[in-house]
């Protein structure tokens, strides 16, 4: 463990810039009294839970189009930040104002929305609010995939062969062509400002490559306000491995082990698990690389270093996520560490509550993202009224949800209903528990991905941990399931029909 930094010196020398800590030091490491959660849905509730456990009052924000959301009910207070949809959750000034009007001292951004927007972190600091997360420079460095790659490469962490930002026009095309010559296809066209699986296209030949660079530019412009793209060599069927890290203001950086997030659909994670079940030496190597990565970028708070693992167990740096992630729950289950609580403590200027040596990992955990989507219709969102909602419980089952019976899922936001995380002493036990828990859900009114997950947990490849990032694509038969409507619900509809017609129309 390193000695605590001298913040005054650090600030004066402006290396590294740690606005958040500067604010804390003013508050003399005292825990703040009120936290504004600049997010919605399950992650907002997740954050409120840890805050409330620490005796921190919580403030929810919401758009008018989201006024029935459950996170409002779970908060101690709520502020309507605008008419929505979506744009107010993305509006930095409204967030700052909401925090100020509710006298919150800190802001937790959750994931998505403003979480990885360096301007937000910077504005919080300017407004004298504690931003729960890394400093703006870290967010902005890691937010640029090209800068992040450079920093990591300089630190000796292997990165996938790739280009710098492609210059526009013919020059870019020439660089692309020569890159293709050297590294062969497939080649990924990636948005510099992308991340979380967004802004990625895979080209299999030179024509596609040229086309995707153009497409990628215009899409990136629309989605991220930045049309820069770069190229990376595509790996065949890689595994997606990531390491959860925690760094406090005293120079302590620890990892909470590996996760395997290979089961993805179109680069969006669907199932995540911890640990990644890698050979011990490989896991150590990856975790060490992650710690190094965290240190070279002056990391603070909770973050994730993502890697790709090819079929020969070569690992490559992918990106750093400077936020709490959806799948943090699996790490919490096997490490016993409440990551959000640690984030809050770090932000309040306290040291990490656990050292690397004292950490013990036990068993394994798997998390499924249960969404209101119709898997059979290309996972099209199926917003609507939730007529019935019953979730499973019992040993080793954790639900992070934000829906309730009678809730009408708005069509403006993501379609996540809840995350199901199960713990098991062994992988097999965890899979058995997943199967049981999926069967214990009772959700009516909207289509969900539960029947699709039920297929997966019965699939021999999944059970035998035989999966990589191509799993979903290579198992189309998993879509051949029958929709289940609760049998009693169906009978009730007949009762309603008899009631409406005043006789049974089916026995006339």
């Amino acid at each position: 463990m390193r000695a605590p930094l001298d913040y005054t010196t650090a600030i004066e020398e402006a290396v590294p810039i740690r606005e958040a800590i500067r604010v804390i030091s003013k508050a003399s490491s005292e825990m703040f009294k009120k936290l504004l959660v600049a997010n919605r849905g399950e992650i907002a509730i997740r954050i409120m839970r840890s805050a409330q456990e620490l005796g921190i009052k919580t403030v929810a924000v919401y758009e008018e189009t989201d006024k029935t959301a459950m996170h409002i009910m779970r908060a101690d207070e709520a502020v309507c930040i605008g008419s929505g949809p979506r744009r107010d959750y993305l509006n930095i000034e409204r967030m700052i104002r909401a925090a100020q009007s509710s006298h919150a001292e800190a802001i937790h951004p959750g994931y998505g929305f403003l979480a990885e927007n360096p301007s937000f972190s910077r504005r919080c600091a300017e407004a004298g609010l504690v931003f729960i997360g890394p400093p703006p420079q870290v967010i902005s460095d890691m937010g640029s995939k090209v800068i992040a790659r450079r920093i990591m490469a300089e630190a000796g962490i292997p990165v996938i062969p790739g280009t710098q930002v492609l210059p526009p026009g013919e020059e870019g095309k020439e660089i692309a062509a020569s890159f293709a010559q050297t590294h062969r296809f497939p080649i990924m066209v990636k948005a510099v400002a992308g991340g979380g699986g967004r802004g990625i296209r895979v080209a299999q030949n030179i024509d596609e490559l040229v086309k995707f660079i153009e497409l990628g530019r215009s899409e990136a412009k629309m989605a991220f306000g930045n049309d820069e793209v770069y190229l990376e060599k595509g790996l065949a069927s890689p595994r997606h491995i990531e390491v959860q890290i925690l760094a406090d203001g005293y120079g302590n950086v620890i990892h909470l082990g590996t996760r395997n997030c290979s089961i993805q659909r179109r680069h969006q994670k669907m199932i995540e698990m911890a640990p990644a079940f890698l050979p011990e030496s490989l896991a150590d190597k990856i975790c060490d690389a992650a710690l190094r990565a965290a240190r070279v970028c002056n990391y603070l708070s909770a973050g994730t270093v993502e890697f790709l693992l090819d079929t020969n167990d070569n690992c490559y740096f992918l990106e750093v996520n400077t936020r709490i992630q959806v799948e943090h729950t699996v790490t919490e289950m096997i490490s016993g560490i409440d990551i959000v609580r640690e984030q809050l403590l770090i932000a309040a200027g306290q040291p990490l509550s656990v050292s690397q040596e004292n950490l013990v990992f036990r068993g394994c955990a798997v998390e499924l993202r249960i969404t209101a989507e119709d898997a059979k219709s290309n996972f099209m969102p199926d917003p609507g009224l939730i007529d019935i909602y019953q979730s499973p419980g019992g040993y080793g089952v954790r639900i992070d949800g934000a829906v309730y019976q009678g809730y009408e899922i708005p069509r403006y936001y993501d379609s996540m209903l809840c995350k199901l995380t199960v713990y098991g002493h062994t992988w097999r036990e965890a899979v058995d528990r997943l199967r049981r828990s999926l069967g214990n859900f009772l959700i009516a009114g909207v289509k969900t991905t539960i029947p699709y997950y039920k297929q997966i947990v019965n699939d021999p490849d999944f059970i035998n941990q035989n999966f990589d990032t191509s799993y979903i694509e290579k198992h189309p038969q998993l879509l051949n399931y029958q929709e289940e409507v609760p049998p009693v619900g169906k009978l009730a509809i007949l009762v309603a029909e008899i009631n409406a017609h005043r006789h049974n129309p089916y026995t006339a």
């Binding site: 169906k490 009762v495 005043r502 049974n504």
Partner: protein
């Protein structure tokens, strides 16, 4: 397997063991025919839940058999009860593990109204044999070759075979005729059978029926005979006692808790009579029989509106000869046709038509053909608008007329009507007449066809129902997909009249025995829709039904 149950037959016996047991056990056996009670006295509307509720008592009673399949049940299960007939049998089998289950099939016409091809008959008998122990089968023209395919399939499945002779009276219906028919049955289907006398129209005095049994027994002293009668004229008890005295081994009865009017006489009365006359009733227990009827007495109120509009017995059946429940059904049809005032004329026409059409047996599908012809004759003029079924009957598609052919003018009128080729009736008869073996179904093609409707591979049982009743089976499959297993609902919900009051609670158990509640909270009626709010297992739910325009003001 040896008989471990002592004094009663068991589904665990082989067909041969069952017949041996009957041969070697003195006394008279009783078969409870709920199938016929439901069909004759309640328009087939007895719901599976009622059957299942009394199943343990009936199973403990020690009947020889329990008839729950056959006649109209398969079609009615699909159309009016919305239960898969196979599933119903499976439930009954599970609830009555110690009683032989009996099924009735119309020979080549199976559970329908027209001849089916061999492979459909074979598949049907084979699949239903999973649940059926005794196959009772008849041909409505007593044309024994029409039984061969079904009988062979039943034998292959190792089931007890009970071929039936339909019984009637009048010209041609002599003891000699029936003895000859019995001989034909034995020579075609073998000796290991039970011969059933099927007195569907409750005809003949006790003396007449006794004489018939005596004549058959004289010729075949070792033949096991069962008697299936109807109490339409109120006289079946006496007939039943008379045949028992002539050596009939099995008689068919109902529960006194319901039935016993156009269907079979009550078991308890039969038992009391038999005991007084010195017969044993092996294996029968009275206490569970009383328990069953205690339950049924309460349940029958739910089915009251499906009983005949005319209460009491109908001794005029001797003339019109309509079997069991056909009577109430034809009256209903007459009413719908606006002919109820002319019912006497209709019945006279029916009698006339039967005589003209060879004095054949008035039993399905013959009863339908005769009645439809009589109805059409009254409305459209005699034989003016013959049905296709009547044409088929005259062409001999179902089999030959057993006693005499109809008069030539009827052949001429019916067969020549609508012909454009100018063929005369005798040419038509010569060229096109006679039994025509229906071509086998392409079952693989039908399976694919059904699969395209269901959007999933159908089960063999679903395919079997589908090939017999394509449209009604499809409607049922759609219904089942939408509403699930509605037979789980209590019969008073299924047959409910009027809306449900706010606060009404419906409690029932599912297949696994777990209890469920549906609590009605409120009903909001608007001009064209009804919104029902309820708690389904304590979870709030609403359902909106769009009403068709015409029924909006159906009731105040």
């Amino acid at each position: 397997m040896a008989n471990n149950e002592g004094d009663r037959v068991s589904p665990r016996m082989s067909a041969g063991e069952v017949l041996d047991f009957l041969r070697h056990t003195p006394g008279v056996f009783l078969t409870n025919n709920e199938r016929d009670v439901s069909q004759s006295d309640f328009k087939c509307r007895i719901m599976p839940q009622t059957t299942l509720r009394v199943a343990p008592y009936r199973d403990a009673t020690g009947y020889f058999g329990f008839e729950i399949l056959g006649g109209a049940t398969v079609h009615m299960d699909l159309m009016k009860k919305q239960i898969n007939p196979f599933e119903k049998l499976q439930l009954v089998r599970r609830a009555m593990p110690n009683t032989l289950i009996q099924g009735l099939c119309r020979g080549r016409n199976l559970f329908g109204y027209r001849p089916y091809p061999d492979n459909v008959i074979e598949m049907t008998v084979r699949l239903f044999s999973k649940y059926v122990d005794i196959w009772r089968m008849y041909d409505f023209l007593n044309h024994i070759p029409n039984l061969i395919v079904a009988a062979r399939a039943a034998k292959e499945a190792g089931k007890v075979l009970m071929p039936s002779l339909c019984y009637s009276t009048g010209a041609g219906h002599t003891d000699d005729f029936y003895v000859e028919k019995a001989e034909e049955v034995l020579s075609v289907l073998g000796e290991n059978i039970i011969l059933c006398i099927k007195n569907h129209s409750a005809l003949g005095s006790p003396a007449r029926i006794a004489q018939l049994v005596s004549a058959i027994r004289k010729r075949f002293p070792d033949l096991l005979i069962s008697y299936h009668g109807h109490n339409t004229d109120g006289n079946d008890l006496a007939r039943l006692m008379a045949v028992a005295q002539e050596g009939v081994k099995i008689v068919e009865v109902s529960d006194h808790g319901y039935g016993g009017v156009y269907s079979q006489p009550p078991a308890l009365t039969v038992i009391q009579n038999l005991h007084d006359y010195g017969f044993k009733t092996p294996g029968l227990k009275i206490a569970p029989l009383l328990d069953a009827s205690d339950v049924l007495r309460r349940e029958r109120r739910l089915y009251e509106r499906f009983t005949s509009p005319f209460h009491g017995f109908d001794p005029t059946v001797k003339r019109h000869k309509l079997p069991g429940g056909a009577l109430s059904l034809v009256l209903e049809q007459a009413e719908k046709a606006g002919l109820i005032e002319r019912s006497d004329e209709l019945f006279r026409e029916l009698i006339e038509v039967r005589k003209e059409l060879g004095n054949i047996w008035v039993v399905t599908p013959g009863s339908q053909i005769l009645w439809a012809t009589a109805l059409s004759n009254v409305v459209n003029g005699r034989y003016q608008r013959a049905s296709d079924d009547l044409k088929r009957l005259l062409l001999g598609r179902y089999g030959p007329f057993p006693f005499y052919d109809p008069p030539q003018w009827i052949f001429q009128k019916v067969l020549e009507a609508g012909r454009t080729d100018g063929k005369m009736w005798d040419e038509i008869l010569a060229d096109e007449g006679g039994l025509k073996q229906p071509a086998n179904e392409d079952l693989d093609a039908r399976r694919l066809e059904l699969q395209s409707h269901l959007k999933r591979p159908p089960t063999d049982e679903e395919l079997c129902i589908y090939v017999q009743f394509p449209r009604d089976a499809l409607d049922f499959f759609k219904f089942e997909e939408r509403f699930g297993k509605t037979w789980l609902l209590p019969p008073d919900v299924w047959h409910h009249e009027g809306g449900f009051p706010d606060g009404a609670r419906i409690t029932f158990s599912d297949e696994t025995g777990k209890t469920h509640n549906i609590d009605l909270i409120s009903t909001r009626r608007t001009a064209d829709s009804v919104q029902t709010s309820f708690l389904v297992d304590h979870q709030f739910q609403t359902h909106t039904t769009q009403l068709p325009k015409k029924t909006v003001n159906r009731e105040p």
